[in-house]
Symmetry: C2
Subunit: 176 residues, 2 copies
Amino acid sequence: MTDTSTPTAPRPAAPPVGEVTIRRAGPADAATVAMLLHELARHEDSLDAVRADTADWRRLLAHPAVTVLLAFVGDHPVGYVSGVRQLNLWVGRDLFALDDLYVRPEARDRGVGGRLMVSVAELVAPEGLLVTWGVREDNEAGQRFYRRLGATLRTKMVAAWQPAAYADHLESLRRP
Amino acid sequence: MTDTSTPTAPRPAAPPVGEVTIRRAGPADAATVAMLLHELARHEDSLDAVRADTADWRRLLAHPAVTVLLAFVGDHPVGYVSGVRQLNLWVGRDLFALDDLYVRPEARDRGVGGRLMVSVAELVAPEGLLVTWGVREDNEAGQRFYRRLGATLRTKMVAAWQPAAYADHLESLRRP
């Protein structure tokens, strides 16, 4: 759900032309962000994990803990990076939990992903926040990309306890 | 850093006697929580990852997003579970990111960990929050314990970008 994608698709025939610009998304960009997230989720075959729609994004993009940086070529959105400031209980302070990095197929191999990560670094550098994120185990190109930036990667297990699963567990304890 | 520990040590000679009670920690419990976290980190050989001291915990335990549930036998603290409510950008709402589950050696094999997890479920059930957490890959007893509760586990890669690493990266881009 928090996996992060990097360029893997073939170059399209007609890439957008012009300079790449990056700016922070606000509530007015909700539809663009929702559209790009759906595109990423479809690309990762996990569209059913996406619940946030444009109305949710209007609220999320107004939340002070949420950051989405959008990349454009001209007026054309070509990618984004998203993350949430989160309290970390071991460190006793916030870290920046990066959620998604996505570059649209027609804009790949132009350094857009690297530019977005640089913008993340510039955003968190003044406070020296640790940045963390998940990467799919089969995303080897992404792992190389992140290691080149100086990130360290390790495998771990993650557990998810769904509402239906813990409801069942609570129910089983009530049975005589 | 967010790994979660479960009972693995041998039973001690003199376990505390009495009923297990669980209650939510407040700022007045900061020293107890800091002490238990240090004990857990020492147990996991990751004491150097802990930065939060008692003063930090006084602040963290007053934060509405932070939950620590303490288990006691009589007045003796025997374990805790901690977590933070976090915005999830795919779902567009909060989830409960469980941070630590720890039971002290002298209180193991008495179901304290299971009781703490039940308390977490009871806490999040009214809102149906998804609960997620990390588990060390070598913690097979913990993995079995969580699967028995109905949690699903998978391996993934996690990346960390330390302030010094992204500062180096930014610096390298400034060089001619």
